[in-house]
Symmetry: C2
Subunit: 163 residues, 2 copies
């Protein structure tokens, strides 16, 4: 396990701003998600459920197409199918057939689902406050969001295979 000069150079390349940035993104994500999960009261919805409910609540009409919702959730459509299965079984959401496209479905917030978001929102915001916002100045929080959005949009625009 001797470190040759060549491998030392190559190893130094691993201390790289890009590697560091990616590592920090993963670590921050994991740390935040698990911390938020541990803070969930037994009445609250799990984080992915909240993701669905919040997105629906923010949408005019409180409904989104399955595929569109999957895109917004950055997950596969099959993953979303199962997720909506569970949230629907809990009564927070309903699947509605789409008149103008008979393949399609709307995921629609039920009144009970709306109650759940509204009830969970204050606690969720307080958790985000304590875990996220309080670590940064308001300006920095906006900067962080902006930088992340730029990366996200850029990744979405890059073809998935090498080309």
């Amino acid at each position: 396990m001797a470190v040759t000069p060549e491998s030392a150079v190559a190893l130094a390349a691993l201390d790289d701003p890009r590697v560091e940035a990616f590592g920090m993104l993963v670590e921050t994500h994991n740390e935040l998600v698990t911390a938020l999960t541990k803070r969930l009261g037994s009445t609250d919805a799990p984080i992915p459920w909240l993701g669905v409910l919040i997105r629906l609540a923010r949408t005019p009409g409180h409904r989104l197409r399955m595929t569109e919702l999957a895109r917004e959730m950055t997950m596969s459509t099959s993953g979303l199918t199962r997720l909506i299965d569970r949230v629907e079984a809990a009564g927070h959401v309903e699947r509605e057939r789409c008149p103008e496209d008979r393949r399609g479905l709307w995921a629609a917030l039920t009144p009970a689902g709306l109650d759940v978001v509204l009830a969970a929102a204050p606690g969720h915001l307080a958790d985000l406050d304590e875990l996220l916002a309080s670590a940064l100045d308001p300006d920095d929080l906006v900067t962080l969001t902006d930088l992340l959005r730029r990366v996200r949009d850029h990744v979405r625009g890059v073809p998935s295979a090498a080309g």
Copy 2:
């Protein structure tokens, strides 16, 4: 499903810098991880394997205690046990008993494992370049890393239960 004035106010609270920042963090993370995964050549190691190998390669002595490695990977020790099982089965890593603490184990990079990191590094850096770094100015990349690190450290310092 009428929108009452009260719920309209509460719904407006969901368009919140904190919610937005958290959503962006999750979306960017997912987008980046899946994009990186799709770029993996058949010879490359999966992203979590690379995480292990890179961390070991950067460590003097090329070895880390299991618990410490789990902390750095932001995952549970049980998750790491299975992960190391797989990486060890591939021959990239070895478990070594710890002389000064007979409960403990070192995860140690094998020469073959070192070769794997060194071989994968250029492609990985190129991928990170294309997906991450090229979306931002170098300064912004550093800023992003710094902001993320602040959030990560802050989350780690907050007690897990409400108090």
